[in-house]
Amino acid sequence: MDWFYELWPKLGEAFRGWLESALPDSIEGWVIYLVLGLLSMLVIVNLPIVGVMAMIYMERRLLGRFQNRLGPNRVGPFGILQPVADAIKIMTKEDIVPNGVDRIVFNIAPIVMLTPILLMFAVIPYGGDTFLTNLNVGILFIVAITAVDTIAIFMAGWSSNNKYALFGAMRAVAQLVSYEIPLLIAILGVVVITGTMNLNEIVAHQSSLPLILFQPLGFVIFFVAISAELNRSPFDLLEADSEIIAGFHTEYSGMKFGMFQLAEFAALMGYSAVIATLYLSGWEGPGLPGYLWLFVKVFFIFGIFVWTRATLPRLRIDQVMALAWKFLLPLSFLNVAITAVEVVVWENGLPEWLIPVNIVIGAGLVAIMHRGLNFQGQTRQVVPSGPERLAAINRPVGGGTE
């Protein structure tokens, strides 16, 4: 198996040697580093695209299986070329810009949407020394840079000159902004334990045991908050087509629409990698090289996302907001408090018997806080009769304004 570990470094070395011998002596050494840097940049930028194609195929096949049908199976063997066909189709579709849109903002929005997602892949470590840049505020950088997507969504909805796009954008901003805080505070639990925000050091900290064992509650909060941040079902109500057509990208077509789809799936892939890095010990694993372990974990987490999508129905907007503010936010505060106390009490690393204790505490807190949500009381309604019933039918739902 040694050749397998050594493959990529050896290829890199061979390529560098070839470049050095092929270029004339008059060219200085920095050119080689420039070429190598541009190549690694190309890899980082293309990685999400290839990954997204695999993920779209996997999601459609898995959803098909969950819904007791086959899924795409016509294009290529087992339908494996279906995402390629989709990409070609989307590229050859007409790009319609409707009347009255704010053209500058309308065209910039897809760029603002996709570029921060690509930056995520520059920070994530793919192996012990395989990363593009090693920021010491890594995880905070990822959360900060992906928050720019909220602005992109609002730009798209606002500039579209379409009231459904505007409603969708407002819903999206309210939802993304609400789930940002439980997300950040769940990450804080990891930072308290490891004492660093550098992703490489966080992975190094998990070389013996993955942090999900010490942060079961934090993992659940993070997973739910991420599903909402990425507009995955059951939180996909900003794309609730029966209410607001397609949400903020109603007016987008052709390649611009494709960019929004690409950004959505690339964010899913990036955040799956972040979950793997924070809670499932990242690229660490026996037998295989680091980047392969990371991708195995990414696709495992993505499978869980597809599973939740196939299982849970869409929530109402008041339920979504209540879940963020009344359930996840207090839970994440309690999680940080418990973690900080544990770290202060056991200064030289957490003992292993804390693992079952933490799981029991987490399950207990979820069971207690769950009662505060009180979804049952909100959905149970007494059906009136006579003139009251008529008045209730005629009353506009939600007060008439969005």
Partner: protein
């Protein structure tokens, strides 16, 4: 150390430029490949296939602003919490209890807005 920082953030800058370039290249490719035919009907904003009614500038509910203000408060709190999470082990008990007090005040704020009904989506 400063040189290392600038090197690390140069990579971030380069990826940003590459990302913008990638999107622009995709737009360029679709400009070449995609057909173009303008028509009046296509330019109408989409509303379920019927002619659009009313203003495009719809009124928005006030509740969005309440959540925006709450978000600002708690997001700034999170920014204060991250440096604390890194240093509190080595900096003694006072720092730890100060932050406990800070979190407690904000948690009280959350409970207050909950009881006042600000968190209800009406």
């Amino acid at each position: 150390m400063p040189e290392q920082y600038s090197l690390e953030y140069t990579a971030v800058l380069i990826i940003t430029i590459a990302g913008i370039g990638m999107v622009l290249a995709a737009f360029f490719a679709s400009m070449i490949l995609a057909p173009r035919s303008k028509s009046e009907a296509k330019q109408i904003p989409y509303e379920c296939g019927i002619p659009p009614t009313g203003q495009f500038w719809a009124q928005l509910h006030l509740r969005y602003y309440i959540f925006a203000i709450l978000f600002l408060i708690f997001d700034i709190e999170a920014i204060f919490l991250f440096p604390w999470a890194i240093i509190f082990r080595s900096s003694g008990a006072v720092i730890f209890y100060e932050m406990v007090l800070f979190i407690a005040i904000l948690f009280f704020g959350l409970v207050y807005s909950w009881k006042k009904g600000a968190l209800r989506w009406r």
